[in-house]
């Protein structure tokens, strides 16, 4: 459980944005700005943050679908950014991704048998592909006889199962779920989440679970990292983060979760953040969160806080004025 499977060291991705044809001032969109992250074998790391915080870019960087501008990505201790095409292709067996949109992630002109077999065919394995695909269909709870059907003949949940079957077809070690349940109905979400959990037990998978639904992340994850404007602002064991958040941003996020009990819900006090997420093209000086933070003072607008880990609890937070850990334990019930 303690062995590190994937580690990101100071990973950055800056996209160049030209302001115009004549205006040659080039500005960078700092989509991912210096992320340190490690995922241990067999655990589920939740990654939350609002839209535009760089979660999906980070996912693509970790899989090296896009090249990082800076930093190292270590998979089982090896820096994969230095891999050549051939080595990278072998590595692709070990890491897979499940996408958000079950409609866009399957080629409409391929049968689902072919879609699921794609990773197998790309690596020219000797096994009986058709038999393997039918096993996979069975594993994810689809009828193996649907082998020759096209994606448009399936519902969203079924399509997502196809996407999952494709991801697990080569027994990967790591699966990144990029908002894998966000596009589904709540009842279907539950089914897919259960499928993820079953598969984790069966194949000893490691997940990086990206979502903006905090309840789902709490249910799935062992540890949770909160992202804001391309940076991780807080990272902790799941229960700890939800019960005693230390970063004001995390607090605000958690206060937005509606409670199922109507009486409790009436008492719930939402921390409403001022304004919008600043543009990653022109992030605020100092702590990126300070223009929206209630606790911000001079220090916050001048200095950038580092992500500091509390050795005892493994609770990391990047804030000059973190909430005290034991001061008051706010129970956020979901």
């Amino acid at each position: 459980m303690n062995e590190v499977l994937l580690e990101a060291r100071d990973v950055k991705k800056h996209f160049q944005a030209n302001k115009g044809f004549l205006n040659r001032n080039k500005s960078n969109v700092k989509a991912v700005d210096g992320i340190n992250l490690s995922v241990r074998k067999g655990e589920t790391l939740g990654l939350v943050g609002e839209s535009g915080s760089g979660k999906s870019t980070l996912a693509r960087l970790l899989l090296r679908l896009i090249e990082p501008s800076n930093g190292e990505i270590l998979f089982e201790g090896d820096d994969i950014c230095k891999y050549n095409a051939k080595k990278m292709k072998q590595l692709r067996r070990d890491m897979q991704i499940v996408f958000q949109d079950p409609f866009a992630s399957l080629n409409p002109r391929w049968t689902i048998g072919k879609i699921i077999a794609e990773p197998l065919l790309a690596n020219k394995s000797d096994i009986n592909v058709k038999k393997k695909v039918q096993e996979l269909l069975d594993t994810v709870g689809l009828n193996p006889e649907h082998y020759n059907r096209y994606p448009h003949e399936f519902s969203g949940g079924q399509r997502q199962r196809v996407g999952i079957a494709r991801a697990i077809s080569q027994n990967p070690k790591l699966i990144i779920c990029d908002e894998a349940v966000s596009a589904l109905d709540v009842s279907i979400q539950a089914q897919i989440i259960n499928l993820f959990e079953d598969l984790q037990q069966e194949f000893n998978l490691t997940y990086i679970f990206i979502a903006h639904d905090l309840s789902v992340v709490r249910h799935m994850s062992n540890r949770v990292a909160v992202m804001y404007l391309g940076k991780i602002v807080e990272e902790a064991e799941c229960e700890q983060l939800y019960t005693s958040p230390r970063h004001p941003y995390t607090k605000a996020l958690l206060s937005a979760i509606p409670l199922p009990d109507p009486l409790e819900e009436q008492k719930r006090q939402r921390i409403v953040l001022k304004g919008d997420v600043p543009s990653p093209m022109d992030p605020p000086k100092g702590c990126a969160f300070h223009p929206r933070c209630s606790k911000a003072d001079e220090v916050c607008s001048n200095k950038t806080p580092a992500l500091e880990i509390d050795g005892l609890t493994n609770h990391a937070v990047s804030c000059f004025h973190p909430e005290d850990q034991n001061q008051k334990k706010r129970e956020v019930r979901i």
Partner: protein, 306 residues
């Protein structure tokens, strides 16, 4: 039956009719010359400018040659030019478009060249090339390919640009699928609809362009007949012998119209939602189904009339 369904049925019926007409024209072009008794280039001075009769179905021209005969020979030239120009343009244009859309570095260089070619009007470019290369069949095809390739490349490129950001392409990359496979197995099948439709339109356009070139006298050289050259020769006799101009004109119009309608039909048939898992249900079946539907509709209508 809903209005929408009626409309699509009507469209399919039109498409099938065009298909049948085109097949007939192609069959005539292939086998017609074997059936014809006389040569299309032989001169019969005594038969000059005869109006249509049983002997000369479409009348005769100023050299006494049978126009029906010449149109059938001309169909060969027109169709060969149109077909080869369309096929070559489609294959080359698709490949270039896919590569340009997918690889950013190639894109800039290739697209500036294409923009340069687009700056010339297609027909002028073709005239220029034919004038430079000489007016034989091969050169006309080459000239037309050059004239129509920019549009094809642009269309395929824009589809590719849109498709390459789809998540299934990303999934393919994450699976370690090679770029060639992504290009030809993921992107091409999804971009095939505009390609086929555009290909059909280029077929039609090329027939028109060949006619225009021959009309202007830079195309197929006399006495070899092509639809355009027959039209070109006929224009001085327009007042005294209208049939001389009408029949080749009608031949061009019907062929081009059929091709355009067929292009529309392809667009409908190639919609991925018409793909079906039961492999038996393919185009042929769909066609017969539609014909069956039309017949049913007719019989229903007859029933109503009674």
């Amino acid at each position: 039956m809903t209005k929408k369904k009626n409309k699509s049925l009507q469209k399919n019926a039109l498409g099938i009719a065009s298909g049948i007409i085109l097949t007939l024209i192609i069959l005539l072009a292939i086998f017609g010359p074997f059936i014809m008794k006389t040569s299309p280039t032989e001169v019969y001075a005594e038969n000059r400018l005869q109006p249509p009769s049983l002997e000369h179905l479409f009348g005769t021209d100023h050299f006494g040659r049978d126009i029906f005969n010449r149109i059938i020979y001309g169909a060969r030239i027109s169709l060969i030019v149109g077909f080869s120009a369309a096929v070559i343009t489609t294959i080359v244009g698709t490949t270039l478009g896919l590569v340009a859309g997918y690889f950013k570095k190639v894109d800039n260089i290739l697209m500036r060249m294409i923009d340069g070619m687009m700056a010339f009007p297609a027909i002028l470019l073709a005239i220029m090339l034919v004038a430079a290369l000489g007016g034989n069949l091969q050169n006309i095809v080459i000239a037309l390919v050059f004239a129509y390739i920019p549009i094809m490349v642009r269309i395929v490129r824009s589809s590719t640009l849109q498709l390459k950001n789809m998540q299934y392409v990303e999934a393919a990359k994450a699976s370690g699928t090679s770029n060639t496979t992504i290009l030809f197995n993921h992107l091409l099948p999804n971009a095939i609809t505009p390609i086929i439709v555009q290909g059909t339109f280029i077929f039609a356009e090329a027939i028109l362009a060949e006619a225009a070139l021959s009309f202007l006298g830079v195309g197929v050289q006399p006495p070899i007949p092509s639809w355009g050259s027959i039209l070109g020769e006929s224009r001085i006799y327009l007042m005294n012998a209208p049939w001389y101009s009408i029949f080749p004109g009608v031949a061009i119009a019907i062929t081009v119209l059929s091709l355009n309608i067929l292009g529309d039909l392809f667009r409908d048939l190639l919609d991925p939602h018409s793909l079906n898992s039961s492999k038996k249900k393919r185009w042929s079946v769909k066609m017969t189904e539609t014909i069956g539907n039309i017949q049913m509709k007719k019989s229903v209508n007859k029933g109503v009339e009674k």
